[in-house]
């Protein structure tokens, strides 16, 4: 979705979507085949384990640290250097410019990123999937309108779009950011779904189903959807990482999340004020963000490889 012109972080992940669209793969089921293949890939196993860990952290951060991430002591802990020997202790990653434990903030910050990533992906997939299905299946003027709308969305600068959408909320929470990213990002998934549906609907079994008198809804849900969904899933898993990075970029620009929400994006932003004296304050939230994005992109990558017979 190149309309998010400003966040370089997000675009390519989504633009990679153009690839399956450009040369739509043969529709094949997401069978055991792919699953067996995936299980044998170390990249998949590693990234899946990482993601499970992140989700656990997001759900129950209290399991990993007993320190209040909002509590800071400027007198004793202002930008105190990390103590790498103290594994899982509050001073493991040092203290930030407010005297708060960076380790605790990194743990508690996972929730915002994981929620934004998963919810935006879900929202975009549902919205984009439905519109893409309609456009691809019916074709004609419906398709023209949907396609032109996706073109129009390219033109909206992310900053403008995000400001307009986020201003509709009195306080900027995780959910308003999710809403904004879905509103600005769904057209990308529309394109992918549309391309995929167009290929699938020409298949013999669809013609056969039509000949047998199956209704439109039945054909769409029972025959086209299962066969057209693969590229969407691939793109979605890769894009998920991109959405997480976009949240951080929005927070960096000062229009994303705000206190008392804890997010890596907010911490990256405030760490810049002390980057020269305390680079570790930037390193840990940025590192965790990168690892999370990496895990999701690797997962998406592995899924794509597994689903693409040519790469076996």
């Amino acid at each position: 979705m190149p309309d998010l012109t400003d966040t370089k972080t997000e675009i390519p992940a989504q633009r990679a979507a153009e690839v399956p669209e450009a040369k739509p793969e043969k529709a094949r089921s997401l069978g055991l085949d792919a699953w067996h293949d995936l299980r044998r890939r170390p990249i998949f196993v590693i990234s899946a384990l990482l993601i499970v860990l992140l989700i656990v952290i997001a759900i129950a951060p209290g399991l990993f640290t007993s320190v209040d991430p909002r509590a800071g002591d400027l007198r004793t802990h202002f930008l105190t250097k990390p103590n790498y020997g103290h594994l899982f202790q509050p001073d493991w990653f040092g203290y930030d410019g407010q005297g708060r434990s960076i380790y605790a903030r990194v743990i508690y910050g996972a929730r915002a990123s994981v929620v934004v990533g998963i919810c935006v992906t879900a929202g975009v997939t549902v919205l984009g999937g439905i519109t893409g299905m309609i456009a691809g299946y019916f074709g004609g003027w419906v398709d023209t309108i949907v396609s032109r709308v996706t073109d129009i969305f390219f033109g909206i600068p992310l900053l403008l779009g995000a400001l307009v959408v986020l201003n509709a909320f009195t306080s900027r929470t995780i959910w308003s950011v999710v809403f904004a990213l879905v509103a600005l990002g769904w057209t990308q998934m529309t394109r992918v779904m549309r391309g995929s549906v167009i290929t699938v609907k020409q298949a013999d079994y669809v013609t056969a189903a039509k000949a047998l008198g199956a209704g439109t809804t039945r054909i769409m849900v029972k025959h086209i959807l299962p066969n057209a969904i693969a590229p969407v899933i691939v793109v979605a898993t890769i894009a998920l990482g991109g959405y997480i990075a976009t949240e951080a970029t929005l927070s960096f620009l000062g229009i994303g999340l705000q206190d008392p929400t804890i997010s890596w994006g907010i911490d990256i932003n405030s760490a810049q004020k002390v980057i020269r004296t305390a680079p570790f304050a930037l390193f840990f939230p940025a590192g965790m963000l990168s690892i999370t994005v990496l895990a999701f992109i690797m997962l998406g990558d592995a899924v794509r490889d597994a689903l693409d017979p040519k790469l076996r």
Binding site: A22, I152, I156, L253, S290
Partner: protein, 308 residues
């Protein structure tokens, strides 16, 4: 071919109109009064405020303002910014800067990206390939602000090779570092796309034929393999140029580049409708032109594709 181009050009009209309309109203929704904002933190003089709005036509109903704007736009008049400068001046000042930056980033990602991708694809599964995979994933996952600060720190503060910020936005040498930051992400994608595509095509029949014919390796790779593997890469690059032109606000901000991203950021903050719309209009034109060129390039790369 001619008809295809004509049809594509026709389709651009609604997209163009839709974008202008959407942007116009989105800017209007932003909170705050851009004219009152000229007084900053001081008390606004209501008489002067009214006179100013009247002079700029801002006291008209919104729909009238919109029609006026459209009318002017079709006569090639982008209107006037709040500071009294014609928007076209701002556009002609910022776009050359961003064009240089974007083309530089573009060149870097094509040359480096395709080369790295080619070698990784040819040596699939080897150490170089795996190294590339890890490196590109890393580039993709680091947020741009962080990447920018890291590069700035290493190359100017630590090594002293370049000035930390761009002194002259038109100087290609000074734009190199921001261009690398801007292009690094796409570089990673180009490399990965090329690699995948090469790895697929290397097993194709025509490759075996070419090798069997006894063609030199250089020619096999250059004309046959590379040319056939470029379609997904070109698709990506087509949209990427538009995105690069869109001006990475973050990159331009970190390196003090006075390009499109910079102007757009300010215009949005000040709620300058005419300026925002003007820039976005040009951006959309660039994007539409780029995607048309990409489609035409397909025919060049793959003789099987013909446009009626």
């Amino acid at each position: 071919m001619g008809r295809f181009v004509a049809r594509r050009l026709l389709q651009m009209i609604p997209v163009f109109l839709g974008t202008v309309t959407l942007i116009f109203f989105m800017v209007h929704i932003l909170p705050g009064d851009p004219v009152a904002a000229m007084w900053g933190d001081k008390a606004v003089d209501p008489a002067q405020l009214a006179a100013f709005k009247h002079a700029r036509g801002l006291d008209q109903p919104l729909i009238q303002q919109y029609l006026d704007y459209l009318g002017k736009l079709f006569r090639g008049d982008f209107g006037m910014a709040m500071d009294g400068r014609p928007v076209i001046d701002k556009i002609s000042g910022a776009f050359p800067v961003t064009l240089r930056l974007a083309l530089l980033a573009f060149a870097i990602e094509i040359v480096l990206g395709v080369t790295i991708g080619l070698f990784a694809g040819l040596r699939r599964g080897k150490a170089f390939d795996k190294g590339t995979l890890v490196l590109t994933l890393l580039l993709i996952s680091i947020p741009v602000p962080v990447l920018g600060f890291i590069f700035q720190n290493i190359f100017s503060t630590q090594l002293g090779w370049v000035t930390p910020t761009v002194q002259d936005s038109m100087n290609l040498g000074q734009l190199l570092l921001p261009a690398i930051v801007l292009g690094s992400l796409s570089l990673a994608y180009v490399a990965r796309l090329t690699r995948t595509s090469i790895a697929e095509n290397i097993k194709a029949d025509y490759m075996r034929t070419a090798v069997a014919k006894g063609l030199p390796k250089r020619k096999v790779i250059g004309t046959h393999l590379l040319r056939n593997s470029m379609i997904p890469v070109v698709t990506f690059l087509g949209t990427d140029l538009g995105a690069l032109m869109g001006g990475a606000i973050v990159t331009e901000g970190i390196f003090n580049v006075k390009g499109v991203g910079f102007e757009l950021y300010h215009a949005i903050n000040l709620k300058e409708g005419a300026t925002v719309s003007g820039f976005v209009v040009v951006l959309v034109l660039v994007y539409l032109a780029a995607s048309l060129i990409v489609d035409l390039l397909y025919a060049v790369l793959d003789p099987r594709i013909r446009y009626a």
